[in-house]
């Protein structure tokens, strides 16, 4: 990274802002602090900000409204950081224009990873859209699977996969949004009929998730449909 990215941290709890600032400044990021939505908008006006960490429940102007205001003219990544952990809250936040959603209390390492992922995607990958016309590339959000070179990159960083893992991922990415049952995956990847429920498939899927997801417990790409199968979420 040639220049330092500017990150705006917004939370009404000063200690949380401070701790986030400590973590992020270790990652060579410039930190701006705001303690409510209005302050955040002020800072955004006077400074070049590259990413915003935004609390939802705040005095004066809450996170969702602030985000809507920002989105009127700005397209930078916004990560919501909230104590609201309900699925509906997450869906609501993402629908209203957030790029990611982290629930409190969070793992600091996960937070850093998500911030870096968003920055990478927005600034280094955002412009490089599919230059090689000959190669077939499957894309889903930050996932890029090059069919010819058999390479997987996550937010621009290469990830090593075993042949089985690669085959499973290719199957799922070719059919984004579709749910595959365990036995179907087994039959199509191993190319032999499945007789007993295959524990191996589930284990492989977990390994893939550990490689491509920032927080495997809350997967962004490879999702478990409990009691039915697995799928790659349509981006």
């Amino acid at each position: 990274m040639s220049e330092r990215y500017h990150v705006l941290v917004v939370d009404d709890d000063r200690e949380i802002v401070e701790s986030i600032a400590i973590y992020l400044s270790r990652e060579n990021l410039e930190i701006y602090r705001a303690y409510d939505g209005l302050q955040a908008l002020d800072i955004l006006e006077g400074n070049a900000i590259h990413l915003i960490l935004l609390d939802v429940m705040m005095p004066r102007l809450d996170g969702i409204k602030t985000m809507l205001k920002i989105r009127e003219q700005n397209n930078i990544p916004i990560i919501l950081v909230s104590a609201k952990s309900e699925d509906t809250d997450k869906i609501f936040g993402l629908e209203f224009g957030a790029d990611d959603y982290i629930t409190k209390p969070f793992n600091p390492l996960e937070l850093i990873a998500r911030v870096k992922s968003q920055l990478r995607r927005y600034f280094t990958l955002g412009t490089a859209v599919d230059a090689g016309g000959t190669s077939e590339v499957l894309r889903c959000g930050g996932l890029e699977l090059d069919i010819h070179q058999k390479r997987l990159t996550v937010d621009g960083e290469e990830v090593k996969l075993t042949p089985i893992e690669y085959k499973i991922l290719e199957l799922l990415m070719r059919n984004q949004g579709r749910v595959f049952s365990i036995s179907e995956i087994y039959e199509r990847v191993w190319n032999e009929p499945s007789f007993a429920p295959e524990n191996t498939v589930a284990v492989h899927i977990r390994r893939i998730r550990e490689k491509i997801e920032i927080n495997p417990k809350e997967p962004k790409y490879l999702k478990v449909v409990w009691g039915i199968g697995y799928k790659i979420e349509k981006a």
Binding site: S19, Y23, T88, K104, P105, I182, E198, V201, A202, V203
Partner: protein
């Protein structure tokens, strides 16, 4: 005070109105009577008493001229008049002045008349009234046309016609003007009576003017007057129509009749006036009732009152008794009427030859009886019909309450009114209770959300700073161990807060369930895979025993996953090192049965009941990780999915058994005997086809909604 005045104001206004109208009525009646009887005229010479006095004088003068009266002088009236009578035979018979002939006197009188000395002068010559002049209406003088404007006095012609000598009588007469009248005689008394009348009339006029003024004021205050009339109408409306209508007719007739009687002086004026006023006000009051109440004026009658009375008599009895009594009363009345009819018919048959009149009367009575009987029947049927309609309404309303669609309270009249009332009460009670419960649930959920937020925010800071501390190299060394403890405990606190939040939500019923068809075997495989590293850590082996390869259940996948995760985590945590955990899936009637079995590493000195309570832990010392909510959450979630969780303790053997309802397709095929587990290889292909999961997989869009 103010309100009192306001309350009284309509009454006061009506009082003034009453007085004013009464005064006007009485004044009009008195003045009308006086006028009609000639007692009051603008000029006193037009009054009856003046005219009769003059008539008397003229007759006396004629008598004098005929020589029938003695004395040759008018004694009584002489002072207020000048007269001269020439006898039939010639010569002056009598005079009270110095004139020598009637002609001379008349000329003198004419001059005096011109000067205002006389009001009224006559010249009677040779039996004919030749000249007559009188002062009228304050004019100085005017001459009357004898024929038209001033009728000849009654009796003069008769006298002239009857007697042959009459034609020779001549006289002249002048009546003194008012200023010159002496205080005696008929003329004066006529004048004096007129004078007194005039004063009375003036007084009455003044009173009437005052009354008119008051009337105008009360009319301006028409709102207050209207309120008074409303109140009066309310009062009068209590009377039966059968009383009001005849009395109204009677009052109208009485009013007209009495007015005529009073005017013609047939009844004493005081009594007549009182009657007129009374009749007038009765008409007014009943009319007010009629105008204000309109149709309701007629519904207040004996029939409705009888109906009401019957209803109040019935109201003490329970519904069934009331209905039975009504039917009985109706039947008895009808029977009595029929019996009476028969009796009358007999009377007519036997009496028709002997007493024709009696037969007619009986026939008339029969017609009335028949009408009453039919009327009763119609009434009864109508009421029965109405009750049926009301019953239908009540029925629908009860249904609506049950379905929660009832909005407005049901208002009914008649026999079903109490039932409708009771239903209304029940409905409002239910809706109030439901509303309260919804509100309290909302508050509970809000409280949980807020508390959880308030706990999580400081926890975030704690965890972040503990983590930051953990990255530092603290001095002295053992401080690093302290920080590690802090880290562990804050992580545990985080898990506890999350679990607490979840169980509170599950127990308050405010949780979104996403029920769908899913394969419980696949779900267990997935759970096992996800818990891979944990099961590897513990020195425990997991053995799975699946009776079937696929078992569809209808449940929420995430919740069920959480249940299995908790139960498996529990087993891993408390299983004795070196032993095996047995995990089995079976189909049992309509349920999928998943059981977890492990050998406990410590003595389980608690009951199965206690362990699923919130915050109960297997080890009383609470030394291990966990919130103590694991089993409670599992139980809540299983129950949310329509299943059950039972814990069985057998020595050191710990068994957790989950029962979840089967999916639809499995329920249909559940009649078939269970597939033995050994045949799994050969059975694979057909089961795949009948598997509901495979059919579900094809439309990919369906699954996008799941996550």
């Amino acid at each position: 005070m103010d309100t009192k005045l306001k309350k009284r104001r309509p009454g006061i206004t009506f009082g003034f109105f009453f007085v004013a109208v009464t005064i006007l009525l009485v004044a009009a009646l008195i003045v009308g009577t006086l006028w009609f009887n000639g007692a009051v005229r603008p000029d006193y010479k037009d009054t009856v008493s003046y005219q009769s006095t003059v008539e008397n004088i003229l007759q006396e003068l004629v008598q004098l001229g005929l020589g029938q009266a003695g004395g040759g002088r008018l004694e009584w009236e002489g002072s207020n008049i000048s007269y001269l009578v020439e006898a039939a035979e010639g010569g002056v018979w009598g005079a009270n002045n110095s004139a020598l002939s009637t002609q001379e006197l008349y000329e003198q009188l004419s001059k005096g008349y011109d000067r205002g000395q006389y009001d009224h002068i006559f010249l009677f010559q040779d039996g004919v009234l030749q000249e007559q002049e009188r002062l009228a209406y304050g004019e100085v003088s005017s001459r009357y046309d004898l024929a038209n404007e001033y009728p000849p006095y009654r009796g003069l012609e008769e006298l002239a016609g009857d007697n042959a000598h009459n034609s020779q009588i001549s006289f002249a007469l002048g009546i003194q003007s008012v200023e010159n009248l002496r205080n005696m005689g008929g003329i004066y008394s006529a004048y004096y009576t007129w004078y007194q009348m005039a004063i009375w009339i003036l007084f009455l006029g003044g009173l009437a003017a005052l009354a008119l003024l008051i009337l105008l004021v009360t009319l301006v205050k028409h709102r207050s007057l209207g309120m008074a009339h409303q109140a009066i109408a309310r009062g009068i409306n209590h009377l039966w129509m059968e009383i009001k209508l005849p009395t109204l007719a009677l009052a109208v007739v009485g009013f007209c009749w009495t007015v005529l009687e009073v005017i013609t002086l047939e009844v004493p004026i005081a009594v007549g006036t009182a009657m007129v006023v009374g009749c007038f006000w009765w008409c007014w009051l009943v009319g007010t009732d009629l105008v204000v109440y309109g149709k309701a004026f007629f519904t207040r009658n004996i029939l409705t009152s009888v109906q009401k009375l019957l209803r109040t008599l019935e109201s003490g009895y329970p519904f069934l008794a009331r209905m039975k009594r009504r039917l009985l009363l109706f039947l008895v009345t009808e029977v009595v009427i029929v019996a009476l009819l028969a009796l009358c018919a007999l009377g007519v048959l036997f009496g028709i030859g002997l007493f024709a009149e009696l037969a007619m009367v009986l026939l008339f009575i029969m017609v009335i009886l028949a009408a009453v009987g039919v009327g009763l029947l119609v009434l009864y049927i109508r009421q029965y019909n109405q009750n049926l309609d009301n019953f239908a309404l009540v029925n629908d309303y009860a249904q609506a309450i049950r379905q929660g669609t009832a909005q407005e309270p049901l208002r009914l009249e008649g026999d079903f009114a109490p039932l409708a009332d009771n239903l209304n009460c029940i409905h409002s009670g239910i809706s109030r209770a439901v509303e309260e419960r919804v509100r309290s649930e909302q508050m509970k959920v809000e409280l949980i959300t807020n508390v959880s937020h308030d706990l999580k925010t400081p926890l975030t800071s704690i965890m972040n700073y503990v983590d930051l501390l953990g990255r530092e190299n603290l001095q002295p060394d053992y401080c690093n161990d302290y920080v590690k403890v802090l880290e562990q405990k804050s992580n545990r606190l985080k898990n506890m807060v999350q679990d607490l939040f979840e169980i509170s939500k599950a127990n308050s019923g405010n949780i979104d369930l996403n029920l769908e068809q899913l394969d419980v075997v696949a779900l267990i495989e997935q759970t096992l895979a996800e818990m891979g590293e944990k099961s590897g850590q513990a020195n425990v082996e997991i053995k799975t025993q699946f009776a079937v390869n696929h078992l569809g259940v209808y449940a929420d996948g995430r919740k069920l996953h959480r249940v299995f995760e908790n139960l498996l985590g529990n087993a891993l945590k408390y299983a004795m090192s070196g032993t095996r955990i047995y995990l089995s899936v079976e189909q049992e009637a309509e349920m999928a049965v998943i059981s977890f079995k492990n050998v406990s590493s410590y003595e389980m000195n608690f009951t199965a009941q206690e362990i699923v309570e919130r915050f109960q832990r297997g080890d009383p010392a609470r030394a291990t990780e966990g919130s103590g909510l694991g089993l409670a959450i599992a139980k809540s979630f299983v129950e949310l999915c329509g299943g059950s969780l039972t814990i069985e303790l057998d020595g050191d053997l710990f068994k957790a058994i989950v029962r979840v309802p089967l999916g639809k397709t499995f329920r249909v095929t559940s009649a078939q005997p269970e597939e033995p587990a050994q045949e799994e290889a050969s059975d694979q292909a057909p089961t795949l086809e009948t598997d509901p999961l495979c059919q579900q997989e094809d439309p990919a869009e369906d699954h996008s909604a799941i996550n």
